[in-house]
Amino acid sequence: MLMRITVTLLMAALLVFGLVSWADYDFWLMGPSPSHYTWWWPEEMSTLGQHADNLFWLIMVMVTVMFVITMGALTYSIWKFSAKRQDKAVFSHGSHKLELLWTAIPAAMLLVIAFSQMSTFAAMQFDSSMEDENGEELPVLCEIWASQFDWRFRYPGRDGRFGTNDDFESAYELVIPMRDREPDHDKKKNIFLLRSRDVLHSFFVPHLRFKRDAVPGMTQRIWLGVDDEQLAEIMADREDKSFDIICAELCGWGHYKMSGRVRVLPDAEYEKWVDEMTALQFGNS
């Protein structure tokens, strides 16, 4: 009896601890945090963000239901059938029906997930999503270089070509245009090349619901699109004008230092920024 009570109390304590630390960010961080930080997903502002969130919730609900059912059954069994020292072990050959049932249900769930994510996956990952109507590759906005332990963004400069003398680099801050001149929501795309200099990293922008591994020796074409209405909504009550880039793959001892920021500018301001960076590139400061 003592053991049952102790285990129950411990589990309850864990649950309370988890809930408290989840509710109160500072509890874990033990330090200050900007007011917009949250334990949950931040607001999304990507053209695909709604799809990503829908998928997230679909899977979340499914696994939560399954978690509660299975854990409930487990807890009940532990409580109900906990070994009394005098009991003899019971041998059972299982149930064929039950085996079928608990194979078929997860299989069906996986199929639901598999089919529901297909169109989003294609829009995110397929090469065709980074081509124009004629099947030509869209021009690259910048190269994203991951290295131990920072992010570096190499822009082709005014001429739009890499490997020329007007290329410029930006450390830490990735600046992207909003594509507000493009009326078509689905065409607000910025193409990037994601590369790594040394080991595996992962380029993660929570606000854009985007995460992709950067693999050394591999150049990946990726795209990010910003939903300008969502962005305006987020910016309305936010003084900080940029968003986190996080390395989501443990890449070495300095992994925690590997951060960056995304700043989204309206097209006209973005062009001004490119001019500024070009002037800085040929400046003498």
Binding site: T6, L10, L14, S82, A83, R85, D150, G163, Q281
Partner: protein
């Protein structure tokens, strides 16, 4: 045998484990016992002159001058007061107005975002303690107590909770940047956070958290992580920094160090620290300067001690050494160079001009005046070149037992096969290749010199043309990269920059080749008239070969 699912000990072990895990979350390694030490070089040189027992004199003097890691500060001497300069308030006096504005802006938008949000909505009691701002927090809890506790402060401030809109007692309390015509409590609270510049103690705390594990307690580049890094972290104690905009050997400007914190030293383990506010970065620079000055003073004091007959350190020697070291750092801004240089806009230059100037740069690169090739190699691949550039290294005796294993582990030694005039490898009687062991020359920090491989397009001190210009014109402090000879004009240096950048930029390089190929084809046609018409294709191939042999750069273009 009876099965027992869990002993009665089980739950207690589990509980103990959980308590242990949660308790360790609050684990504070502490830093009370951290203390500045003397460098190995200091101890060795004291030993040499038989003064090893006098080391407490040196460390005592240094503690008086620079304090401890817990309470770092500069000793204020008479001549500092003469010049109306208090180095302990470094930021107050040395920052330009723009830099101050940037700091205030950053505090407002990033660093104290949450605190300022709460102050703006007058929820003073909820303002949380900010990171790395202990002194600020002390002022807030003491002087601004009436605003958030409703009790009298210890200094005899107002006894009751004040109205945030009432006047701030300017005569009793001080906040940086208060307007002359007075401010309200709420405004003063906002200004306190907006205008906050970290104190040396706060910066030292941040240094401990962010920098110490590589750069070490006293900035010797010998922190616990440091020994696993290649290249090694900078040892500040020589006072030498590589990526600076002042003349060779001079002390860096504050801005040079801030730039490195903002940009990082790319492809080394030094990341950028742009996630911190500009105030915090300037504060870190203050502390790095203190460590560098402390190290320099240490070296000089030991020299003074060795020179004196008694082995004593008189007060005035300490004072004069300290002032001399300070003077170098104080004048750093005056040594700023190339402020009025005009950078050629070769993004707007025609390919012809680019080729002509780059070609001139190449001639200089391969020439004996600039002598770049002797370290960076004919193909510009520096330390990565298959043939070790000879001027980089000296032959050592392989059987010599004094080969430093640590230096060897860091790539400090290389075997080079001996070749005869025809490029054939020489062999000994048993058919083994004859080879010599070379020791690569160390830089001032004792690291093997590794000249930059230009074809990788990685420039640690910045890849902008002006950065390369500064590297070529004034060399790199502390390394074997020298300042340009007097015979090399500014125009020559820019041509070198263009050549080096062309090696680094693949598309530029391809364009240059294309251009030269076209020029050669034209030449070829002029020489051979119309005769070559029937076999155009072969002609092209010929031209390709010409180009390659002509420039000797086929390796570089292959990259």
């Amino acid at each position: 045998m009876r099965l027992r699912p869990l002993t009665s000990r089980g739950p207690f072990v589990l509980a103990g484990l959980l308590v242990g895990v949660f308790a360790s979350c609050d684990y504070d390694p502490g830093h009370a016992d951290l203390s500045f030490g003397l460098s190995e070089t200091t101890m060795a040189s004291l030993d040499d002159v038989g003064l090893a027992s006098s080391s407490p004199q040196v460390s005592g003097a240094l503690t008086t001058l620079f304090g401890t890691p817990q309470d770092p500060h500069y000793l204020i001497t008479g001549d500092m007061l003469d010049e109306d300069e208090n180095p302990n308030l470094a930021g107050e006096f040395e920052l330009t107005e723009e830099q101050w504005e940037a700091i205030a802006r950053d505090n407002r938008s990033r660093r104290f975002l949450r605190q300022l949000d709460l102050i703006a909505s007058e929820r003073f009691a909820e303002v949380p303690e900010p990171l790395y701002a202990g002194d600020l927090w002390a002022i807030w809890t003491r002087d601004f107590a009436p605003l958030h506790t409703g009790e009298a402060s210890e200094d005899g401030g107002p006894a009751t909770t004040v109205d945030p809109a009432s006047a701030f007692p300017v005569d009793d309390l001080w906040v940086p940047g208060l307007p002359e015509d007075g401010a309200t409590w709420a405004e003063a609270a906002r200004l306190l956070f907006v205008q906050w510049y970290p104190s040396m103690r706060e910066s030292a705390e941040m240094y401990r958290a962010q920098c110490l594990h590589c750069h070490g307690v006293d900035g010797g580049g010998n922190g616990p992580t440091g020994e696993f890094l290649e290249p090694r972290p900078r040892d500040y104690r020589l006072g030498k920094f590589k990526w600076i905009a002042v003349e060779n050997g001079k002390r860096p400007r504050r801005q040079d160090l801030v730039n490195i914190l903002m940009q990082g030293a790319y492809t080394t383990a030094m990341p950028n620290f742009a996630r911190f506010s500009s105030g915090q970065l300037h504060g870190l620079v203050d502390y790095v300067r203190l460590l560098a000055m402390r190290g320099e003073t240490e070296t000089r004091l030991v020299l003074e001690m060795g020179d004196s007959d008694s082995g004593d350190l008189p007060l005035d020697t300490i004072q004069s050494t300290y002032s001399a070291v300070w003077a170098n750092w104080r004048d750093a801004d005056e040594n700023y160079v190339a402020a009025d240089v005009v950078v050629p806009r070769w993004d707007q230059m025609s390919v012809e001009d680019q080729v002509t100037r780059g070609e001139h740069g190449r001639e200089l690169f391969m020439g004996t005046l600039a002598n770049c090739f002797s370290c960076h190699g004919m193909d510009g691949r520096g330390a990565d070149a298959p043939n070790l550039p000879i001027s980089l290294a000296e032959v050592v005796d392989a059987d010599d037992h004094e080969i430093d294993p640590e230096y060897e582990a860091r790539g400090g030694y290389r075997w080079v096969e001996l070749k005869d005039a025809n490029g054939q490898t020489l062999t000994d009687a048993e058919g083994h290749a004859k080879r010599d062991l070379y020791r690569i020359k160390p830089d001032d920090w004792g690291n093997p010199s590794m000249p930059r491989n230009f074809t990788q397009s990685i420039f640690r001190g910045g890849s902008r043309p002006i950065d390369l210009y500064r590297r070529i014109k004034y060399g790199i402090t502390g390394t074997i990269m020298p300042a340009a000879e007097a015979g090399i004009s500014d125009g020559d240096i820019w041509d070198l920059v263009i050549y080096v950048k062309t090696l680094a930029n693949s598309t530029d390089l391809a364009r240059v080749y294309e251009h030269k190929r076209a020029a050669l084809a034209e030449l070829h046609e002029a020489e051979h008239g119309d005769a070559g018409h029937s076999n155009d294709h072969d002609d092209d191939d010929d031209d390709d070969d010409h180009t390659d042999t002509d420039t000797n750069d086929d390796d570089a273009s292959g990259h």
